[in-house]
């Protein structure tokens, strides 16, 4: 059989390491799965991205940290100690012979499927502060938890606006939260638990905010919040914020009747729901099965999108046109609604006739279209802060429920990884020898005038790497 020396077949290397079972995420679900696998006699690797490097925390990866971390997050040694101290079960996992790697992120999942047939085996891409490598596995448990569900409002790009998962991580896991007085958006279980946790840890809780007319949490939980003296502003939305040099100083809430109330706070915590962190699967176009399972919060439930939609619409109604939606690329609500190019490009007059509405009229629009036109979602946070907002905006503009709108796609690496770390330092000879800038089709680059002349053979013989 003829082989194409420039094709990928046979060039991707086997994994650097191999385990019977690999677990991503060393939370309760991950450790439970790891211990069970170890007891069954498996060789087990359990990785956890915590402690997340300070630089990534500053970029709101993987959670919406909102700039409310102390400088302690830059101290890698302290962070490791903190992760251990806050998670005693890690010691149990070590004692059970599990290979536990902290500060190790999973950035890519690869398994052969309809559009990928060149993997020598299923592999997971990992990276720590020193290197990136691939591991093979028979069974993979993704106990990757849930990430913050983020919606924007006027001033949400100031330091001090953060997600409930990030608040929990900074408070409990890292003991590195700078917040003193927190206003919490939402009144469901997550919001109430976040409020009670914050209070128990000595923070002031300025209140809960609920756009709907009633508290959403189960009655018993709501009673505990009330008993703690935490006010709940039902029927209120965020109309504006005040911020100073250190970020958020107050939120201006507006009631359904239009009355404003200013709440002093240094932190506004979004606790409207969480999203299972399944980026690895989404980027790989893989559904669970064939040895890959989800565990813990990564397995669901999905957020209540009707509730999220109510919030998105309430916040959207009060958000000025210049409200940022995508923080990484500084894309505003107006930019999105007008599908405007980024500010470094001219905005020609013809653009005035174009909008999200016309894009939708041209056919069901995909968030990836909006991404490529406006750059919303193309930044270093990989769309985690804006993709729900964009989907809600698209759904509202399309007049359909957000469940019918596709989400912007995730792509590997699902965690930012520096070029020099991601780089494969031990490339195979087959990869190096078969490398061409383009397809390596020798006849492709013959200057047209030379086709069919004696010079053609000479140019074709010169062959590869002719792409300019």
């Amino acid at each position: 059989m003829v082989t194409d020396v420039h094709a990928l077949n046979g060039k991707l290397p086997i994994a650097d390491d191999r385990y019977d079972t690999v677990i991503v995420g060393a939370g309760a679900a991950g450790i439970t799965a790891a211990l069970a696998a170890a007891q069954a006699g498996d060789s087990v690797l359990m990785v956890d991205e915590n402690p997340v490097p300070g630089g990534l925390i500053g970029s709101d990866v993987p959670l919406f940290f909102g700039g409310r971390m102390t400088a302690a997050v830059q101290n890698a040694g302290r962070m490791i100690e903190q992760v251990f101290a806050s998670n005693p079960a890690l010691q149990t996992a070590f004692d059970a012979g599990i290979d536990v790697r902290l500060g190790t992120a999973a950035w890519g999942l690869y398994r052969n499927g309809p559009a990928l047939q060149t993997m020598p085996e299923a592999q997971l891409g990992l990276a720590d502060a020193e290197r990136a490598w691939m591991v093979g596995f028979d069974r993979l448990v993704l106990a990757t938890g849930a990430r913050d569900l983020v919606l924007g409002f006027a001033g949400w790009d100031a330091p001090g606006v953060m997600g409930a998962q990030a608040l929990h991580a900074l408070l409990v896991r890292y003991d590195a939260l700078t917040s003193r007085r927190v206003l919490i958006l939402g009144s469901g279980a997550l919001a109430c638990e976040t409020a009670l946790l914050a209070k128990a840890r000595g923070l002031e809780v300025a209140g809960l905010v609920e756009v709907l007319g009633a508290v959403q949490a189960p009655a018993a939980l709501a009673r505990r919040v009330a008993a703690a003296g935490i006010p709940v502003y039902v029927g209120h939305s965020v109309a504006a914020t005040r911020a100073g040099i250190d970020g958020i100083e107050a939120a201006i809430l507006r009631s359904a009747a239009g009355a404003d109330v200013a709440i002093a706070c240094d932190t506004i915590c979004l606790a409207l729901g969480t999203i299972p962190a399944t980026e690895l699967l989404e980027a790989a176009c893989i559904i669970p099965g064939d040895g890959i399972t989800l565990a813990g919060d990564a397995a669901g439930p999905a957020p209540d999108m009707a509730y999220v939609t109510a919030w998105a619409q309430a916040l959207g109604r009060l958000a000025p046109a210049d409200t940022i939606v995508c923080q990484c690329e500084a894309v505003t609500r107006a930019d999105l609604l007008d599908v405007q190019p980024p500010h470094y490009l001219a905005r020609p007059s013809a653009m005035a006739a174009r909008s999200l509405a016309t894009l939708i009229a041209d056919g069901p629009a995909h968030p990836d279209q909006i991404k490529r036109l406006t750059r919303a979602g193309m930044g270093a946070c990989q769309g985690r802060r804006c993709r729900t907002q964009i989907a809600c905006l698209l759904a509202e503009s399309s007049g359909v429920p957000v469940s019918q709108v596709p989400m912007a796609s995730f792509r590997s690496p699902v965690r930012p990884v520096p070029l020099h770390l991601l780089a494969d330092g031990q490339e195979s000879a087959a990869m190096a020898d078969g490398w061409d800038v383009w397809f390596g089709i020798p006849t492709q680059w013959t200057p047209y005038a030379d086709i069919g002349t004696p010079r053609e053979a000479e140019i074709v013989a010169n062959g590869g790497n002719m792409h300019v």
């Binding site: 691939m134 193309m378 590997s412």
Partner: protein
Amino acid sequence: MADFPKGAAVIVIGAGVTGLSAAWWLARSGVDVIVLDKGIIGWEASGRNGGGASHYQSPLFAEEQRLWPQMDDLLGYPTEYVRERIIIQRDQALLDHYLAVGRMCTAIGYRVDPLDAKQAQELVPLTDETCLGGIHLRFGGHANPQRTVQAYAWALQDLGGRIFQHTRALAIETAGGRAVAVLTPRGRIACEALVVAAGPQSGMLLAPLGINFPVTSARAEMIVTEPAPLMAIGGVDGNGLYGRQTLRGNLAFGGGPHEWIAMTPDGPAARPTSPLIRNLARRVAEMFPRAAHLNVIRSWAGVIENTPDGRPIFDRRENITMATMSGVGFGLSPASGHAIRDLVLDGACSFTDLSKLGLGRFADLPDDWREQRGWAA
């Protein structure tokens, strides 16, 4: 959504960059044109390529070079077109090879200046002393593929052209060898002339007409980093890579092995990418050592069709014009659309000879041409 039409003077199948440019050119000539696509405009190779516009080998290149500097004005929407390119190398053999390519381009009439190590390092601040030199193309350039595809679509609409996305062409209805209509799940659309620019799908659409349109598809992958400080000339590649620094500052590069992908009625699937992104990362880090600390924040893949000799196909049978750019279509799109317009309306290209790019060259192509090349999925 607009009412589904009964007919149009010309139907273009495929809202990739070639089909959209062709439709735009036809609309500029006052032709009533409809573009059909099974999905979203520019969703395959057209929206997901390196954005290069420097393809010296093509008979369309002179026209492309004439048009690109005008495209923002002609279309009315931004394409991010920027002139010139630099290719740098850190391997002496590759450098010598590209210096030879540069001399060949200069001989054809497109000026290429050789760069010694010092010149290259000055022009490309993200590289370092490992850069041995390069070539500076005083022609060509690069643009943003995704923005450009949308610009063609909007410009076409501004001229009255209609685009129907999510509307697959199921079959071409013929009468006496002429295309008379295209069948879609939403209905039949009559036409006086047809353009097939459906990329990987073109072969399937044309086979029932007895036309052998030999293409096969592969996935090619790219990576992109967070933004780096802008270089004066962002169209820099080399070290086995193609790509550019975007005007935002991101480094977007691809290259290296492809994977041949099986055809399905939905078209070949582009996603996901493979661990090849590690090899791309290595080459970008080698090419730009001063940017090696930057995070890779995304990768993506495009499905690209190729002909057996990697050269484009431009041909017309009766009232059916067929075109593929064989994986090198984005940069040449201003001119390929013009050529297709000429073929549809005038029967021949007005500005260059395309006679060597007809289907006739494949008359003796064996059925197993993919297997013979190792291109079978």
